[in-house]
Symmetry: C2
């Protein structure tokens, strides 16, 4: 397609999505759940075809010299297909947020005012290589009553088209419009540009992928974007911490998985306990192959520690590297976190009541924790049931975003003939 | 100042505001309330000076041939000053939203997860001629724990500077940093451009004024904007309405005030009751000097009714003009509202239970009402205590925006050494 055709094509998807969103907003929960289970059945029936189509993407990827981790994310195994199907069942079992009315109270004028939870409308999801995102994002949007337009990576186009066929079949078996969930069928990058500027038809954009993708989309979008940028997470070991617990939390926060956004990147330690905690803890990190980069005071205590530069405090390593800084106490720790952190997830380890309260209040991050590993910042662990991403924005959704983050509330007012005077 | 100087000046305000926001986020309620009362006392002490400075603006306005309504909004009378002072007292008496923790529940892992309400950070307010907005917006931001940068109209610069002096005095008497509330002191338009692009220091922009201002700012801003665009509000008289109540609600919704955003602009009437309701109701509108523009079926019943064009259904008159359309029933009414409305405020008048429920669910507006005048869509009437505007956005804040709309929530997690496995 040339550019005007792509524009027309994306606009057509937008118009259809808007229309479908009107239907979806007032569809019963059982219909949405039926569609989810029918999509799962379609995926189950077409396992062979899915693997075959995925093989085309893998072969093209190898021809185009995609690197190994990317090819890995692209691959759809039998286990991956099962995980997609299980995910649909899980989302279907979550409570439906739409239509819930809260805070319905009488006002002095005699009117009753409350809030009703409603879908956002049309959601555009832009993601990279992983084809299983297609089913998962579609299910979250459907359950929350939103129509969606899904734009996956061009390298996964055959897999995504095959999944899209299953989605269409499931929607149709549940008598829902097929345009409730539309997968962009062209691989041209111009399609993304059109999608993120179509503010007449799309209410919110959710990009899922690397920081580069998200920053570019946020910069160019004319539609609000739910962003998930860096996770530069901290653990602060206070001098009133249970030092055994502190060491275990620090180890878990860094080494349980290196590549996740809620992994600790900087360890802060109160000066008074640094000498007691650090030598042994550093040895355990080094044993696990973690490279240490520290401030001058840290390097006095840990010979194998490299020098940390100003840049280290602002870096999300996503790798077995840890920066360590010894601070005078909680004031300097909070100051460091609010200055260098990314307002994602930060934890204090302390037994001191007042400091725990201060940390919770004064650290300006989407998740603030006491005596817990930062790795707990996650939609499932928080009880949201599923997660479309972790928002580093402050407006609308902050932290792990579940079904509720894909909805809004409107005011409802009930009366019996009240007039303004 | 030339452009580079303006840029540097606005950046300085931004840096100072960010710093002040850190202090404000954890200041006690009583300190914020003390500042509000001290600002009120300062305004009270300097009434003479305020009127004098306001006179300079009025004289300049007359020299520059500002029109009468604009000069009227610009004027600061003794009564206007008292209203500002009373507003501060009212905002001071509202409950402090900051720090409130909700939904703190145990999870299977043993951690407790909850949400804490927190300030957004730094709010930029851009408004037009009315100088009393300076005190009101400042008070709402302060109470909700946000630093703010206020940019009023250049025609009100003397008044705003005088009010800013009172604000600074009040903050300082309460031992709060003066940069909690900063009034832009330059009148150059370039200052607005710099402010709305300074995403490193400003978290949200609230424009208050005409649609033109708000659309321009939304288009050019690199920062999220809480928008208040058109109010094309509808009343639908269902054929199962209490027809006496219906007529009164329609009259109140249109004629109680013509220039407000929650005033009805289009009246929809079910065909089965049109002949009964419309002739008399139309006469009452005409008596009050309201020009009527209707569909063909309406004009058959009301001789004095002009022809409504497609454009009329999409127009916010803000004037004694009303468009009227006869519809077959609730389906066509909802379709009309969701097509032509501005998703602001819409009401049904009916005694039918199922239709009331359907209307509440299916009309996609920030306020949806049953048997009440649309004029009730208002922060005070809803019990929010005060209102910084009515949001026509779906994300973050929707409908009347009070203190809560100027805050966000973060997750807090409490544990006793939990690790991810």
């Amino acid at each position: 397609m040339d550019k005007p055709d792509i524009k027309a094509y994306i606009e057509q998807l937008g118009r259809q999505a808007r229309k479908a969103s009107r239907v979806l907003a007032s569809v019963k929960s059982e219909t949405k759940n039926l569609a989810l289970s029918k999509i799962g059945e379609a995926l189950d029936r077409r396992r062979g075809l899915l693997v075959e189509e995925n093989r085309k993407d893998l072969e093209a990827g190898r021809r185009n010299n995609l690197d190994a981790p990317l090819l890995d994310r692209l691959q759809l195994t039998g286990k991956g297909i099962q995980a997609m199907i299980d995910g649909l069942t899980e989302i279907s079992s979550l409570p439906d947020p739409v239509g819930a009315i809260t805070d319905l109270n009488y006002r002095p004028s005699g009117i009753q005012v409350g809030r009703m939870r409603v879908p956002l409308g049309v959601i555009g999801i832009i993601y990279e290589s992983r084809p299983n995102v297609t089913a998962e994002a579609a299910a979250l949007c459907l359950k929350s009553g939103n129509a969606c337009i899904l734009r996956g990576g061009s390298e996964a186009i055959h897999s995504n088209r095959a999944i899209a066929d299953c989605i269409r079949a499931g929607l149709s078996e549940a008598s829902l419009p097929e345009s409730c969930i539309q997968v962009v069928q062209v691989t041209d990058r111009a399609a993304v540009g059109e999608l993120i500027r179509m503010d007449a038809y799309v209410d919110v954009i959710v990009p899922r992928g690397g920081k580069g993708l998200i920053e570019r989309i946020a910069r160019e979008s004319r539609i609000p974007v739910i962003k998930h940028l860096d996770g530069i997470c901290h653990v602060f070991i206070d001098d009133r911490a249970d030092l055994g617990m502190a060491a275990e939390i620090a180890l878990n926060a860094k080494t349980q998985r290196y590549g996740t956004c809620n992994t600790m990147e900087t360890l802060l330690i109160a000066e008074r306990v640094a000498k007691t905690v650090l030598p042994d803890l550093a040895a355990r990190f080094l044993e696990k192959g973690v490279e240490l980069r520290g401030c001058a005071r840290t390097r006095e205590l840990v010979a194998a520690c490299k020098e940390a530069t100003e840049q280290d405090w602002m870096t999300e390593y996503l790798a077995p590297i840890l920066s360590i800084r010894i601070v005078d106490g909680i004031d300097e720790a909070i100051e460091h976190i609010n200055t260098y952190g990314s307002a994602h997830t930060d934890a204090i380890v302390t037994e001191d009541y007042s400091r725990a309260r201060r940390f919770l209040r004064e650290v300006d991050s989407s998740s603030v924790m006491v005596n817990v590993s930062t790795r707990f910042a996650d939609g499932f662990e928080y009880g949201l049931g599923a997660e479309i991403g972790i928002s580093t924005d402050k407006l609308h959704a902050r932290g792990p975003v579940g079904l509720e983050g894909l909805t809004s509330v409107k005011f409802i007012v009930l009366g019996d003939g009240q007039m303004r005077t």
